[in-house]
Structures are given as C-alpha cells and as structure tokens.
Subunit: 218 residues, 2 copies
DNA sequence: CTAAATTTGTGCAATAAATTACAAATGCTT
DNA sequence: AAGCATTTGTAATTTATTGCACAAATTTAG
C-alpha cells in the first residue's frame, strides 16, 4: 500500500490544521471547511482522509481529536531519527532556532561547519565538528539523515563525504546547487530560489494575459 | 500558450546547468547528459526544451550558449520586480546574504521587522520599517512582491496588511503557518518542515518495504 | 416516525504529466 | 557517396492525480 507524495504533503497540512483546531477546542469539522481553509477541494480532502480507512462520520464530519490522532499515526516515525546539520550559518541557525524544528521525530546529534569559531564548541547543546569529519562522525554517531545548509560550492563535497557513512539514509538539501547522490539515499530539496523564479515567471504570465488565471491559493 | 509548473521548474534547472557549463567552456550537450546530471529522463528534457521551438540539432545535441540564451529569454522578466522582505531574522538574513539573491530580476526596496534594533536603520543598504507600516510603505514604494520570513504567529497579520496595498501581486512565504490570501494574489510557499516530514515518511516506507523503491534522485 | 438536510466514501470521468517509440536530421567513417 | 551511429522532436500511450456525482449514513425538524 503505497502513498503518493501529494497525498503525504496534504496529510501534513491536515495534521497541522487539526492540531490548531484541537487547541482552539473545536470538536468537529467537515471536509468542506478543511478544504476552504487549505485551498483544497472537499472531494480531495475526503479521498485523502478515507485512504487509510473510514475515519469520518456521514452527515456529521470529522471528529477533530480523532482525526488528529489518526493522521499522527499515519505519519508517525518508527523511532527517533538521528539527524546532523551541515552548515551553521544564518540558514542553519534559523532552522535550529525554529519552534517547528523541535520534534519528537528526530534529534540533532551533530553539527558541521568550517568556521573555527564554531568547530569544537557546542551550539545550542549540540557538538559542532569540522566539515572534514563528516564521514567519520556520521558513522560514529549513527546519523541517518543529513540536513545540508552549506553554500552551493561546498554542497557536493559534503554529500560525497556523507554518503561514505553506511548509516546515511536520507538528505534534505537547502542549496540551489546540483548534487549527485547515489540511488540508495533518499534525496529531497528545498530550493527557495527556484520558488522565487517560478513566482516571478507566473506573475509575468498573468500580466501577459492581462488578468488572473486563478493561481495557487491557500 | 500556457506552461505547466513542473516544466518551469525544470527549465530553471536546465538554465542553471547551462550557465555552469558555459563557464566551464563546454560547447555542446545532449539531452541524455543533461538528464543524467539532473536526474530527469532524456525524453522529458527534450520535450521541455522543444516546447518553445526547435532549439537543438539532430544527431548533435544542444549548443550550450544558444540554449542558455534561449531559456534566459523564456524566463526573462518584463522589468525589475520591486520586492519587500518581511522578517529580518536569521532566515531573512540568510536570504539577503545569499549570492543567488542578487538578481537582475528584482530589487529589494524595503524591509520590515518588529525589532527596535532594526527598525529605522538601513540593513545591507535597504530601509527597515516597522511591520505596522507594511500597507503604507508597500503602496508608497510600489512593491509588487512580498517575501514573508516572519514567525508563524505573525504571518497572517503581515499578509492582511500587505494585501491592503493595491500594488501587491505575489507573495512567497517561508512559514509553515496556514494563511488566507485573496485570489488576485499569486501565492507560493517554501515549507522546510513539510519537506522534512515527507523525507522521514518515505524513509519509514522504504524501511517497511525492507529496501529501496527507487526514490527521488538528482 | 417521516421527510429534509448534511456530509462521508467511492466508482468513474477528466485532466495533467511522464514515458515510449520512432521518423527525420546530422555527422562520422570508410 | 553510402552506410552507420547519434540525437532531436513529437505522436501515441501510459501512468498519476484530481474532480464529479451520487448512494449510504446520520442528524434535525416537524
């Protein structure tokens, strides 16, 4: 039973929404209401939510607490993933400091940087090593996931080192650089500049057509 | 003639690759080679590139300089977009400091923050205003695009202010918060934590199936 | 208790995107 | 100059994703 990527993405959104509704004390919600808030068609919401079994109640809607727990189970981790962050510049710091970064799904077990000011110290409670030690430390500390927040020029060399550790399973990269990664490693990318380019491109298209061809909502 | 989003995304990748090949002095490249580097099927590359007219040469491949200019024209801006950045924390600073952020396609005309240390000063040459002034300043300075790098709790209020300016056309948000945006505004989102959740989810799925069902490459 | 109003779950249709397969064009080799 | 090896462009097909429409379940009102 495999789940499509767009479905997982929406499940995460539903989960966030249910969490906040739970806090507000809301008890029940319909697919139409979920859809309106998130900019998704109600039928899509129902299809996504029913994929893992009947969880709603006909004529009523979805029970917020129940749905929340349900999605939590679907998205649950089998264990706490061991993560390392390479690049403790502004972006890395932004990540570390972000509330959403404190998750029970993973723990940050090592940092890497080339700045002598940072190497050898603990930053926010985590040991920072020199980037030359990525392979060794990742294996020693049994790191499964690498978050790559280094400058574009350093990206490939960090990846090359990281994949030498047999413990590595996935990489999430925040760099516009093209990197080569072996098939056995799951690779995801967050590319701010691609998104910005896309926004400007479709802004131009809208202007050309002189008005709005219904872009993305939320 | 409308262009699909996945196509635009790949065009941006092709453009980056061609730029770097151009610098390396490479003259010719085939769809197969492009595809291997970027993790895209050669046929997909050809379909994307031929969409705007025949640009390659059969039996030979694509001329790097020519292809570079070609894609540049497709992605070109009609003018320099006027952009503002709300939230000059770590993430905002990371953006401002990034090499890829210096583009001839847009110029940053205003910053917004609530920190009294920053408000009223120039940061990297750009005036920083208090977030309460978003609506006024955006209209005064004719800002068309807002980059939203504020904490989740502040996101909706910033958007509400920004959409009051009739000059606003698009928003790129870096927040996991759900925000309501009117249809006339083009809205894009970069959500690091959704990507991280997706990575962990599919890592779990791989493990469950005991081995790799060919994930995303690059 | 019956009828009307909601709202889910889901088979089927429609749309979007990726892949295949191959003719046409080009260059290289002999 | 003829034949072979490349490589593009694209029509046709396949796969993926979304949207529609309606039966089934539930609640509310009279």
């Amino acid at each position: 039973m495999k789940v499509a990527e767009p479905t997982v993405e929406r499940l995460i959104q539903y989960y966030r929404l249910m969490s906040s509704m739970k806090e507000e004390g809301r008890k029940v919600v319909s697919s139409l209401q979920i859809g309106e808030i998130l900019g998704i068609k109600a039928s899509q919401v129902r299809k996504d939510l029913s994929y893992f079994g009947e969880i709603g109640k006909r004529g009523v809607g979805y029970h917020v607490n129940r749905l929340c727990t349900h999605i939590e189970n679907i998205l649950a981790s089998p264990r706490v993933w061991r993560v390392a962050l390479a690049g403790v510049g502004n972006l890395g710091a932004a990540l570390m400091g972000h509330a959403a970064f404190k998750s029970y799904k993973f723990s940050v077990e090592a940092l890497f940087d080339v700045d002598p000011e940072k190497v050898g110290r603990k930053i926010m409670g985590v040991d920072c090593f020199h980037s030359d030690e990525i392979a060794r430390v990742m294996e020693d500390r049994n790191i499964e996931v690498l978050l790559l927040a280094v400058p574009a020029v350093a990206a490939q060399s960090c990846v090359d080192q990281a994949v030498r550790s047999p413990t590595l399973k996935g990489i999430l990269a925040f760099t516009p650089a093209t990197v080569i990664v072996p098939d056995r490693i799951l690779f995801y990318r967050v590319d701010i500049f691609v998104e910005l380019e896309k926004l400007l491109f479709f802004l131009k298209e809208r202007e050309k057509n002189n008005f709005q061809p219904a872009g993305k909502l939320i």
